[in-house]
Symmetry: C2
Subunit: 383 residues, 2 copies
């Protein structure tokens, strides 16, 4: 176990009917910018519940934060915050809306171009307070300080993380999930699964509690997936899924761990270049990372196979391969197409990603072992 | 899963050499009251490390907070805080020192008699800031707002919990555990085990993630105990044990759960009346609670037996009994004597506890099913 520091200040307000608690958690005199996506919250009743809870508040609405939130869109909201003395940002939506709202919160208090936070030219020093009403579990953004922002004009998708951009509170009502399309449920399941992997699937670093907790999240996802995907989930199934997604990326399973994150970094390129859903890119890339980097991940792959899938027969090499296959089958069971060729992506994209990583000087994964050359090998393994 | 709110603001600073980070986390101009126990920190080097880290700070030392911290002792420190304009309390020690420091922190800003917080006559509205350097894992007090305070003049031992008494930060250096006597290690293992049980061992409330995480803590304790008790633990073993104890009572495994806590409430009486170590009382009482309340805990006992002990044979009744027996054997394996008669405690004490619970009108456990009559049955079951 490595030395670590952990702190997560976000207040989680969880359960049926909890959107009504908004007013209890926001001072009456605050000027609120409510940030939203494309309109699904008007169909599932969340918008009406938020407006009812905030009756009498000074609320400005900002609509149109898209999946993979775009720099150009978000800069319009930054302008509103700067000119209208906004006190609090309230994100109502999924991970993209919350991520975008973090960018707005930090950008509003920054003199330069907030893209600096993504390019690495600056780190976030302060941000407007923000809170969230979550409608789509997947990213954990409701309980962490991270955001992934896209810039369509340059085909880039990059991440930042800051202590200043944790939501003050997040409201999670599992009933908001009842109207989610199967595709978004599947994306969220895979996203949560890979978030857990990025923190867990490295090597035996004697993080015993974190290992058990990560495995607990994976086991829970495997148990919940069939009814979520079949569309016959009950409240408790949605509630457990929603909580699993939050716990998958709020730092709770990362204490003392050496993390990977190469699957995410490679996957972001596939989204940036081809518009693939984030969850889809992860289902494609991870099996490649696991197979190409297997020698370094062997003990953890064997442990995962045994504890999560009950794989106890064979050599370590065989057990690791069975564990990877079981994972691939799980991704397929929720509807994922897990090869690049399934999405008409080929060598041209692979070479472009490798070139870009070379230009950025990126070596990814635990201990930077995923060089641009390894990235090429990984993408060829999932062609 | 029940609706819940979760927030834990404490910053955890974990690992080798982290006591040196004290200065980074405390403003230079703060007037500190350092609260300590009986002197073990002078033998294990922690005192010297704290003093070195805080060289140049205005630090007053308050010594003598005993195991099961006593009201009379703590009131002396309250007086110091009130008269010397203390800004921050720094607890250096185990759960008793930290618990006592929470009482001091709240009592210092209260006009009345701070025993009101224990008797229920008042709730804590504010407290002085506090932080901790932990030397004995067990209570989780380093990352929660709870405290248990004793009053020897009346033979009482009672608890409070408040948002105002979370430590701002806690430093956990596993090396501090190397000099702990076997008895304190054993107490801490059982305390952590039962903390986990109090949040987990009720009924199937569809808290899937929390169940897995609680089971992960129990599995980790079972794995770690032999080398901890044999005295041949390495750094990673101490580190995992220390982290498990903190995670066992910081709210992380309680989200959406219906909790029990009857074992603790009954155990506190045995400590108050006979001075038994807290961990010892829990090892005695829990098997009685489990057997007497078995009908209500059946599904969880069976789940626990299967997932933690691999018990899959027999009727549910038989599996539950096997799971209780496995737990008793585990407690014995760390050196616990688990019957009241092992400690020369008999009917007189049982009747006194039952009488006291009747006077207080206490019905304990999930849904208040542990009436004074059930308490009598429980204590007779472990006679």
């Amino acid at each position: 176990m490595n030395n670590f520091e952990f702190q997560n200040p976000t207040k989680l307000i969880f359960g049926e009917g909890t959107i009504a608690k908004l007013a209890k958690n926001i001072d009456k005199n605050k000027k609120i910018l409510m940030t939203c996506g494309g309109g699904s919250i008007k169909k599932n009743g969340v918008y009406d519940q938020v407006k009812e809870a905030l009756a009498g508040y000074d609320v400005t609405e900002f609509w149109g934060i898209e999946a993979n939130p775009d720099y150009a869109t978000l800069m319009k909201a930054v302008e509103i915050c700067k000119t209208q003395n906004i006190d609090l940002l309230l994100a109502v939506g999924g991970g993209s809306v919350i991520d975008g709202t973090k960018f707005i919160a930090a950008g509003s208090l920054y003199e330069g171009d907030p893209w600096d936070f993504l390019s690495g030219a600056a780190t976030i020093q302060k941000a407007l307070p923000l809170a969230a009403v979550l409608t789509l579990p997947a990213t954990g953004s409701e309980m962490n300080g991270n955001a992934v922002i896209s810039r369509r004009e340059t085909g880039e998708k990059l991440a930042f993380g800051s202590k200043a951009t944790y939501p003050q509170f997040s409201i999670l009502d599992p009933n908001a999930l009842r109207s989610l399309p199967q595709r978004q449920i599947a994306n969220g399941i895979v996203d949560t699964y890979i978030h857990t992997f990025e923190q867990y699937m490295t090597f035996d670093n004697k993080t015993m509690v974190m290992d058990r907790w990560a495995e607990g999240l994976l086991q829970t996802l495997i148990t919940l997936a069939p009814s979520l995907i079949a569309g016959n989930a009950d409240y408790q199934t949605y509630a457990n899924y929603m909580l699993t997604a939050t716990m998958g990326l709020n730092g709770f399973v990362a204490m003392g761990c050496v993390e990977d994150w190469s699957t995410h970094s490679i996957g972001h390129e596939l989204t940036a270049m081809h518009g693939l859903d984030h969850g889809v890119t992860l289902a494609i890339v991870w099996p490649g990372v696991a197979r190409v980097m297997k020698e370094y991940k062997m003990d953890k792959l064997v442990q995962y196979g045994e504890r999560v899938w009950g794989i106890t027969e064979g050599t370590n090499e065989e057990r690791a391969e069975k564990a990877i296959q079981a994972t691939e089958e799980f991704f397929k069971s929720v509807g994922m197409k897990i090869k690049l060729s399934d999405h008409n992506i080929g060598q041209e994209t692979i070479q472009r990603i490798v070139q870009r990583f070379k230009e950025r000087g990126w070596t990814l994964g635990e201990f930077g072992r995923v060089t641009p050359e390894k990235t090429e090998e990984i993408l060829n393994a999932v062609l």
